[in-house]
């Protein structure tokens, strides 16, 4: 695995503490956390609210809304919808706000450009 050894060497000289303290990295860290933490808390709360309703508010969940379709089924399907929506939202946020800074910092450290598959294109300067 010579390939692997080379890569370890390439980052061995990097002072990660210094990189960690740069404003660019702090900005990346802040952007990442300020999205994933509130979002994780929000969907967990929504999921447990749903579980508690199904557990303790059976009467409410059994109210028929349209034909045989009741509140419980609609709320269950809404869990699917919110899961898909959060997924889409996170992807668009990452593409816009996270990936560019991450690539920039990576580029500075490794001095390489990456192709679309993430492979290093050695020697190509931006």
């Amino acid at each position: 695995m010579g390939h692997e050894a080379q890569e370890t060497d390439a980052t061995a000289a990097v002072d990660f503490k210094e990189v960690q303290s740069t404003p660019r990295f702090q900005e990346l860290r802040k952007r990442h956390r300020s999205f994933v933490f509130p979002m994780a808390i929000a969907f967990l709360l929504w999921y447990f609210a749903y579980v508690l309703l199904a557990d303790y508010a059976v009467g409410f969940m059994s109210i028929k809304v349209w034909g045989n379709i009741n509140v419980g089924l609609i709320m269950g399907l809404a869990q699917f919808v919110t899961t898909f929506a959060i997924t889409g939202w996170y992807v668009s946020y990452s593409n816009r706000k996270l990936d560019p800074i991450a690539a920039e910092i990576r580029h500075e450290i490794e001095g390489h450009e990456f192709d679309k598959h993430g492979n290093q294109i050695s020697g190509v300067e931006k």
Binding site: F16, K17, V51, S62, F114
Partner: protein, 538 residues
């Protein structure tokens, strides 16, 4: 709406045995050829464990869906909805929502930080040996629980699909499934295993889609009429409301919350799911994999909603319960009702393929963990070369395969969805707190990791041993004895918070400080992908 429900005669099923076996043999033959072709490039450890990191996000996402949509998902959830109605549906919601934990908090950072196993990430900035050993032990335990569930499912399934009802015959089939799985993993490594999972995911989702379309067509594409049909056949309007299974008592309500917690927090801590993130070249592809798998898995669970209520309406709960295989037979019986022997044969073959593929994925994860974390890092103290490590991994595959066969024969007949839910609870307790802390909490220490992992693992297993799952009820593993002092059948609600607490407490009380340079390195690497292993070139 009146509907003639032609009775599904279970005795007719035996006549389709040859057809089922034929379709399954065809699947094995085709996948084996692909596995052999895919294995040509297996040279390094990265090739064997991580498929040379050469899969695209969408391929890996399909393989994750293949790994995740196990027999418990397909047979178990369809059956649970058919019998328990709405309460069965809540399983699928937990299984799906859980993927957001993986997407938002774990997948990309894990891909950027590790190489092959979960332990790579957990031990990155802590003391290597103790953390690696703890992570490897919990990986092996979770994989073994999950393996048992799949192998037990194989036995149950066979009694229905192949008409083999005697213990010896079922044991023989478990041996065949185990032997096939060992061959796939030995020959194909991660690359072969991934291809088996991709093919199986496509077949499973396509099969479920056809059946869903068919059921909906019978009811004029009106979901309300389908639900009405389920109520009519079951004679119980409550099948559409929550609480049929879990609303019986206060204890069962808390049990359901415990299950919900384990499901939603367990997914992102399953070692065989985590390991799949290493088969793609970058964190961006890891993200794409999760997005792809969320769509596929979500779609599939929507299908199971239709299939479950379809089985309740068209086959009927009594016929399902009376069939060999019980609850797990809902989906195959529905297939037989709709498309006769040919569709049953196809669905049965897909169900077999499901078990085979999931078992293969679990085995390679367990083998990689043993060879990479325990053998190479602890026994050989990092001096083993990659070739020896892969050799150890291959031998481990055989050992785990044999253990799974023996375990499967003894666990035959146990409830599949239940065993899987326990594996989720163990994973969420033993692994998730340490994963989250080590990725996000600067002050996390070795002592915190050790306390959290052993505390979570130990408490989950002890609580299961003292629960009605093991003793004290008619459905227990040991129905004769009664030492069930813990009332819940799922330990998650106690063991998961306990593991989080222990991780925090262990770190706060730890007098030794961790290496801040390593912490900085891990944080920078995890967020930027600096120095992460790329795809190997061939």
């Amino acid at each position: 709406m009146t509907f003639m429900v032609p009775a599904v005669n279970v005795a007719d099923l035996k006549e389709t045995t040859l057809l089922n076996m034929g379709i399954f043999a065809l699947f094995v033959a085709i996948t084996m050829i692909i596995v052999i072709k895919a294995s040509k490039n297996n040279k390094t450890a990265a090739d064997y464990y991580a498929a040379g990191r050469s899969f695209t996000g969408s391929q890996n996402g399909t393989a994750i869906a293949g790994d995740y949509l196990s027999a418990a998902s397909f047979l178990g959830i369809t059956g649970a909805i058919a019998i328990n109605g709405y309460d069965g549906f809540m399983y699928s919601i937990g299984f799906l929502v859980a993927w957001l934990v993986a997407l938002l908090l774990v997948a990309e950072l894990l891909r950027n930080t590790g190489k092959f196993t979960m332990a790579d990430v957990l031990s990155f900035r802590l003391k290597q040996r103790p953390v690696r050993i703890a992570a490897a032990i919990s990986t092996l335990v979770v994989c073994f629980f999950y393996l048992l569930a799949q192998m037990a499912g194989a036995g149950t399934l066979i009694s229905l699909l192949l008409g083999i009802s005697d213990w010896g015959g079922q044991a023989l089939v478990i041996v065949v499934v185990g032997a096939l799985m060992i061959m796939y993993v030995l020959i194909g490594g991660m690359k072969g295993t991934t291809w088996v999972q991709i093919i199986k995911a496509v077949l499973l989702i396509a099969g479920a889609a056809v059946m869903t379309f068919w059921v909906l067509a019978i009811y004029g594409f009106n979901l309300s009429d389908l639900l009405g049909g389920a109520v009519e056949t079951s004679g119980n309007p409550n099948i559409l409301n929550p609480g049929l299974q879990y609303g019986k008592s206060e204890v069962s309500k808390i049990d359901f919350m415990s299950l919900g917690l384990a499901l939603v927090l367990g997914t992102a801590a399953l070692p065989h799911v985590l390991m799949r993130f290493y088969t793609v070249p970058t964190a961006k592809e890891a993200r794409k994999s999760v997005v792809w798998s969320i769509w596929l898995i979500g779609l599939f669970y929507l299908f199971t909603l239709v299939l479950g209520f379809g089985a309740a309406a068209l086959v009927g709960a009594d016929t399902i319960k009376g069939a060999p295989g019980g609850v797990n037979s809902a989906a195959p019986l529905l297939a037989f009702h709709l498309g006769g022997p040919l569709l049953l044969g196809f669905i049965s073959a897909v169900a077999f393929a499901t078990i085979l593929a999931v078992v293969a994925g679990l085995t390679i994860t367990a083998a990689a963990s043993f060879a990479h974390d325990i053998y190479a890092s602890v026994i050989a103290k990092g001096k083993a070369d990659a070739a020896t490590e892969v050799k150890v991994a291959r031998r481990t595959v055989v050992v785990i395969g044999l253990l799974a066969i023996v375990g499967g024969i003894f666990a035959n007949g146990q409830n599949v969805a239940f065993l899987v839910a326990l594996a989720f609870a163990v994973a969420a307790s033993a692994n998730l707190p340490t994963i989250v802390y080590s990725l996000y909490w600067r002050k996390f220490t070795t002592q915190g990791a050790i306390w959290s992992m052993y505390g979570g693992l130990g408490s989950a297993i002890i609580l299961i041993a003292l629960s009605p799952v093991v003793s004290g009820a008619k459905t227990s593993m040991i129905p004769g004895a009664n030492f069930a002092i813990f009332p819940l059948s799922n330990p998650g609600i106690v063991s998961i918070p306990l593991a989080f607490l222990l991780g925090w407490l262990g770190s706060v009380l730890d007098k030794r400080l961790e290496d801040t340079t390593k912490q900085a390195e891990m944080e920078v690497r995890s967020l930027t992908g600096v120095g992460a292993e790329k795809a190997t070139d061939h």
